[in-house]
Subunit: 146 residues, 2 copies
Amino acid sequence: MSDALDTALRLVRAQAALVRRFDARLGGLHGVSLADFTLLLRLGQAPGGRMRRVDLAEALGLTASGVTRALVPLERIGLVTREPDVRDARVAYASLTGTGRARLKEMLATAEETAEDLFAAPAWGEEEVPLLASLLTRLGGTGPRT
Amino acid sequence: MSDALDTALRLVRAQAALVRRFDARLGGLHGVSLADFTLLLRLGQAPGGRMRRVDLAEALGLTASGVTRALVPLERIGLVTREPDVRDARVAYASLTGTGRARLKEMLATAEETAEDLFAAPAWGEEEVPLLASLLTRLGGTGPRT
DNA sequence: CTCATAAACTTGACTACTCAAGGAACTCTC
DNA sequence: GAGAGTTCCTTGAGTAGTCAAGTTTATGAG
């Protein structure tokens, strides 16, 4: 088997393992999945803590319907609310609540810890993590779905 | 956000994009998903083209029930058959059929192509693909579920 | 031999997506 | 100002996995 195919398959396996670690940690401490956390994080980074669902979908690499479904439980537990747009009645913003923002801060600490554990010395050198990040970025997956 | 967390999130996005590319290519040409292909590939690498379902689960990073469900459509389209063990009536081997082996060979060519495209020059240097592979291997995900 | 425990597998109920279709609201052209 | 087309979002149906529970078979201890 070629290096290229081998690398691609390893990437899939590594991601599955990584997601499971994050899900276990975030789920255990905060009751959310990595996908939930990522969504909240993007919202937290957006001005005003709110985004149109369409933009959220693009930022997360999901479809619009995936976002609709992902938001349901987050709205139910009060981390996110739905806000209409004054100008355009088609758009419904997803907006972090106060609770959402507070909980996100705690989740972020957990996620940082988990990530640091994952890339801990001595297995990982100081410069290797950014190196991995730059290689992964070249693989795409950022920006709009094609 | 730390480099570590940023890198972890990039890995998730890169994998999603990669899986979509493989699914599109393999699905279009051979009617299978990347997960199907990976399963068939592992079977193909095993002696006699057959494995116990439990070992297949471990090799793929799935649960036993995931394997049961993944095999159903592959048996239905005749790429894999179920074979009992003579010694132990609990075990049911998953075994590549002749057709399965032939189709796998074609799929492998497609997968290799897709992987080469993904890591094509000039964006990717000769030495960078094995480098990425080695970084990913350090992240684990190979071997038994913990 | 018999009983307890363990291993291999399947099944039901669930989650998290996808795609395709559709409703409602906006915008553009005449 | 009326359609025609486009955008935003939701919904129904389907796929791919999870976990927990159950069945069947094997094994080891007395």
